[in-house]
Structures are given as structure tokens and as C-alpha cells.
């Protein structure tokens, strides 16, 4: 069901953990829905993401996209990180099954939430960044054909 890359990132997730006194922390998802993702960013004075860690409670796709997303943002500028979409994460993983696409949104949202936290803490405005939703499943529609 999952590609080799997904399985690799699921089995050997990169950047699991926490960062003490992180520049920004973002938590999204909902334990009720079976998925929570938390991203810690360590951002230097030049706005470059020096380190990133995650913790995820969720399915294989959620773990793998967390792992891949952290890899993708590491070393990037805040603005670059903001532009990393869930599509990019999925592509880097050689794709996800259709029912799992929403899990990759979680990673995108978690990064955005962490960036928002960083911006708030530092009184910055990051162009194109919106306040994160508390539950990314909120405005998703159940795909008609699944029922």
C-alpha cells in the first residue's frame, strides 16, 4: 500500500524528538481523529531553520510525511519552508494512496503552525502565512464514494 520511501521514513523516521526552547512549536490534528503532529523549529537570526524535530501520533503516512517534511525544511529559510506544500512532501515520498492524502496536509499544517508560533513570539509578519486552524479535518469533506 505504501511506497518504499514511505516505508523507509516510517520505519526510520528522521528528526523524531523535541527541541527545548524551540523558536517555534506547532501542534495540529486531533487525537479523536487519530492524528496529532507536533513540529519544533530552531530558527537562527537569519531566518534559517537550523534544526527541526517532530512527534506524531498517527498512521504510517502521518509518520512518514512528518519525517519527510522535517527533512525538507531543514536548512531552508522561513519563506522557503512556507512554500513546501503537502504535494511536495508526497512527491518526495513517491506518492501516497488517495485515502492518505489528507495525512500529508497535517505535515504542511504543522510546519505552518510552528512558523506562526515563531512569528508571534518574535513579533514578525510572514507573508502568506495564515493563522493555523486547530483541526485540519474541520473543513474536509468525506469523499462521497467511500460510503
Amino acid at each position: 500500500m505504501y511506497t518504499e520511501k514511505v516505508m523507509d521514513h516510517f520505519q526510520n523516521p528522521r528528526n523524531v524528538g523535541e527541541i527545548e526552547n524551540a523558536s517555534g512549536v506547532g501542534t495540529v490534528g486531533n487525537a479523536k481523529c487519530g492524528d496529532i503532529m507536533r513540529i519544533y523549529l530552531d530558527i537562527d537570526d537569519n531566518g534559517i531553520i537550523q534544526d527541526v524535530k517532530f512527534k506524531t501520533f498517527g498512521c504510517g503516512a502521518a509518520v512518514a510525511t512528518s519525517s519527510m517534511a522535517t527533512e525538507l525544511v531543514k536548512g531552508k529559510s522561513v519563506q522557503e519552508a512556507l512554500n513546501i506544500t503537502n504535494k511536495a512532501v508526497m512527491e518526495a515520498l513517491d506518492g501516497l494512496p488517495p485515502v492518505k492524502v489528507h495525512c500529508s496536509l497535517l505535515a504542511e499544517e504543522a510546519i505552518h503552525a510552528a512558523l506562526w508560533d515563531y512569528a508571534e513570539k518574535n513579533g514578525l509578519v510572514i507573508e502568506g502565512l495564515e493563522k493555523p486552524k486547530s483541526d485540519i479535518h474541520e473543513d474536509e469533506e468525506a469523499p462521497e464514494e467511500e460510503y
Binding site: 523516521p13 501542534t27 479523536k32 481523529c33 487519530g34 512527534k55 506524531t56 485515502v99 467511500e146
Partner: protein, 387 residues
């Protein structure tokens, strides 16, 4: 070499080699249509009737009360929809439980859209229907009680005899989905006042795609699949002769080995339960501790999510499930685990292990070790763990 430990026998079982053996001649040799009058078809006709007898005997039923279907889901749909149709003039109220299989629940929901009212009974924390609630739910317009014999996720066996008596006293039709129980524990339709009973071949080492609905003589439900005159004109479609033969063989086998098999499975089951409860923290056994199917084990591990758990078990060669096979891939946690009172996030971390008599104690030890290790690993990456 990687092990391979199949622990998802509630999802489906291996078709027993002797079952396949019994089926084979009916594909290429005695392939005649049992409805035909010529001699060549008499072998297939006889096979259908002999295997119907075997199955009827296993339930204490009469042969003409057994109607072959394509499986448990069809049987459930037939029983419930046809009962609704037949007794509509008497009333439009149906009683079921919150922990039924989707084949029952979704059929009830379908009927709700058609104007029926359905009461979904709560269950206690072990997953047993509460008899006093059942009694209270009965109304003058109640036409059907449908409660499963044993639950597919947590294995809890329902107080079927008592439910049957309540239904009988109130002259209400009683259907039970025995897809998980049939072949695993003794069932007698008369003792339990069962009017209709669903079963499926592939859950007891029989083939997939064959099931039956027991319909007590006198119960006036009509066809669900209309057409030819097969199954006493109640279920159309050319008889699946090899399927019927395989099902009969599987039932013969299940009945003759039941006692011994159950004893062995209970030993394995209890060993696994005790070991995991002892070695993994924050774990809960779902379902009744003893009044459960001999082969069912179901745990909830806090702070971890089921699919991740499953994939990691799989990587160790252990095939298990999280909730029922039919709902995996869905985002909702098991309705059964919610019904026994688990919070969503705990329900998400459930693992069902359903054994067969071929498993060993040594395998159970391996599985317990694997669960311990994997749960630990997942908890380490869970944002909920330290909270």
C-alpha cells in the same frame, strides 16, 4: 528468515486443505446445475442436500430452514430488510445494538432512511447488551430484534439465550448475526429461540463467497434476491455447489474439533493476554475477560495509533488487525470500542489478534515481545505520551 504469524482469523481463515479437496470434484466433474432433471446433475443435487443437512444439524435446525447465500453480509441484509418488509404493517421499530457489524448497522441505517425507527442498544464496558435496556426498548411496534451472537472485534459473547427468551415472550422476531460464533462455540437455534441466523463460510476454514441464512419454519420473510426457484424459491441464483460442499465440509470439521480446538485456543489466548497485560504499561484488554470467543484478543495501547502499530507488527511478520478488516483504511475509530466507553484516542490504538488452533505458545511469546517493543517505539514518537 522472517516469521509469518497469521493472527487475523476473525477477518478470514485459511480454507482447510480437506475442504478444498472436497470441493474439487464439483468444479470439473460433477458440475451439473442442481436444478436440472437429468442424471448428470444428481450428484450436485445430492451434494447440496447432504451439506445442507450437515449444516442444519450443527444448529439443531431442519434442513429446509437453511438457505444458502453468498456470505454473512448478504444474510444480514436479507434477514433485516425482508423482515422489515414482511412485518411493516405490524410496526416499523427495530432493536439492535451499537456493536453490530456494519452489515447489520448500515442495513439498519438504510431502513431508517425508509422510515423505520431503530433503537441501538448500549452495551456494558465488556461489550454485552444490557437485558433490562433491551426490555425497556421493546414497543408495541417492535418487529425485529437483531443482536449478534459474538462480537467480531472484542469477541464478547452476548446473552443470546436470554435475548431470545425476551424476544419470544414478546412475540418479536429474533435475528442473530452468528458470523463469528458459528463453528467456534455451540449454537442451538431452538434453545435460544433464534428465528433467523446469519453465518459465513470463510470464517471457519470454509471458502469465501458462501454463507447461509437460517430461517425458522413459519417465519414469513420473502426473497431478497428474486429470480429462479432455487432455495425453495427464496433465494435465486444458480447454487454455488463447490461453495456449499466446502462450507459443509468446514462445518463438519468445525463441529467435530470444536471442543478440543476451543480448549487449545483459550490456552493460547489467555497466555497472550496475561503476558501482554503484565509486560506493557498503559494497556487494556477489550471485551469480557472470559466470556469471549476462544480465539479473540483485543488490546488498546494508549498513546499509539492503530495503523502504525499494525504496519510495525506486519514488518515482524505478524498479521493482525485494528478494528474490523472492513473498516480499516477509514479514519473513524472502531464503533465497538467507542460503545464500550473508550475515548477516541484510546480506541485508535487498538490491536485485534485472532488465533487459530495452529498457533503455538512460542508464537504468542514472540507476539507479546513484538507488541512491547513496537508500542515502546511508537510511544517514543508520540506527542501524547509525555502529556
Amino acid at each position: 528468515m522472517k516469521r509469518s504469524i497469521y493472527l487475523d482469523n476473525a477477518a478470514t481463515t485459511k480454507t482447510a486443505p480437506e475442504v478444498v479437496e472436497a470441493m474439487l470434484p464439483y468444479f470439473t466433474e460433477f458440475y451439473g446445475n442442481p436444478s436440472s432433471v437429468y442424471e448428470f446433475a444428481s450428484k450436485s443435487k445430492a451434494a447440496v442436500s447432504e451439506n445442507r443437512d450437515i449444516i442444519a444439524s450443527a444448529l439443531g435446525a431442519k434442513d429446509k430452514e437453511i438457505y444458502f447465500t453468498a456470505g454473512g453480509s448478504e444474510s444480514d441484509n436479507w434477514a433485516i430488510k425482508a423482515a422489515a418488509e414482511a412485518y411493516e404493517s405490524k410496526g416499523k421499530h427495530i432493536i439492535t445494538s451499537k456493536i453490530e457489524h456494519h452489515a447489520v448497522l448500515h442495513t439498519c441505517e438504510y431502513l431508517e432512511k425508509k422510515g423505520f425507527e431503530v433503537t441501538y442498544l448500549d452495551v456494558d464496558e465488556d461489550g454485552a447488551v444490557k437485558l433490562d435496556e433491551l426490555r425497556k426498548a421493546i414497543r408495541p411496534d417492535t418487529i425485529l430484534i437483531t443482536i449478534m451472537y459474538a462480537n467480531n472485534e472484542i469477541g464478547t459473547i452476548q446473552p443470546i439465550k436470554e435475548i431470545g427468551e425476551i424476544a419470544h415472550e414478546n412475540k418479536i422476531l429474533f435475528h442473530t448475526d452468528a458470523v463469528q460464533a458459528f463453528g467456534q462455540i455451540p449454537i442451538n437455534v431452538d434453545e435460544c429461540h433464534i428465528d433467523m441466523l446469519s453465518a459465513s463460510g470463510h470464517k471457519l476454514n470454509g471458502p469465501k463467497g458462501i454463507g447461509f441464512l437460517y430461517i425458522r419454519t413459519g417465519v414469513k420473510i420473502r426473497s431478497f434476491i428474486h429470480g429462479g426457484g432455487q432455495e425453495r424459491s427464496r433465494r435465486a441464483g444458480t447454487e454455488n455447489v463447490p461453495g456449499i460442499v466446502g462450507f459443509g465440509e468446514a462445518v463438519k470439521r468445525a463441529v467435530s474439533t470444536m471442543e478440543e480446538r476451543a480448549a487449545k485456543e483459550i490456552e493460547l489466548r489467555d497466555h497472550l493476554i496475561e503476558k501482554v497485560l503484565a509486560e506493557v504499561p498503559y494497556v487494556r484488554l477489550n471485551g469480557h475477560r472470559t466470556n469471549r470467543l476462544p480465539n479473540n484478543v483485543n488490546f488498546s495501547f494508549r498513546f499509539v495509533e492503530g495503523e502504525s502499530l499494525l504496519i510495525m507488527m506486519d514488518m515482524k511478520g505478524i498479521s493482525a488487525s485494528s478494528g474490523s478488516a472492513c473498516t480499516s483504511g477509514s479514519l473513524d475509530p472502531s464503533h465497538v470500542l467507542l460503545a464500550i466507553g473508550l475515548p477516541h484516542e484510546i480506541a485508535h490504538g487498538s490491536l485485534r489478534l485472532t488465533l487459530c488452533e495452529e498457533n503455538t505458545v512460542e508464537e504468542m511469546d514472540f507476539v507479546a515481545e513484538a507488541a512491547k517493543e513496537i508500542v515502546g517505539k511508537l510511544r517514543n514518537m508520540s506527542p501524547l505520551y509525555e502529556d
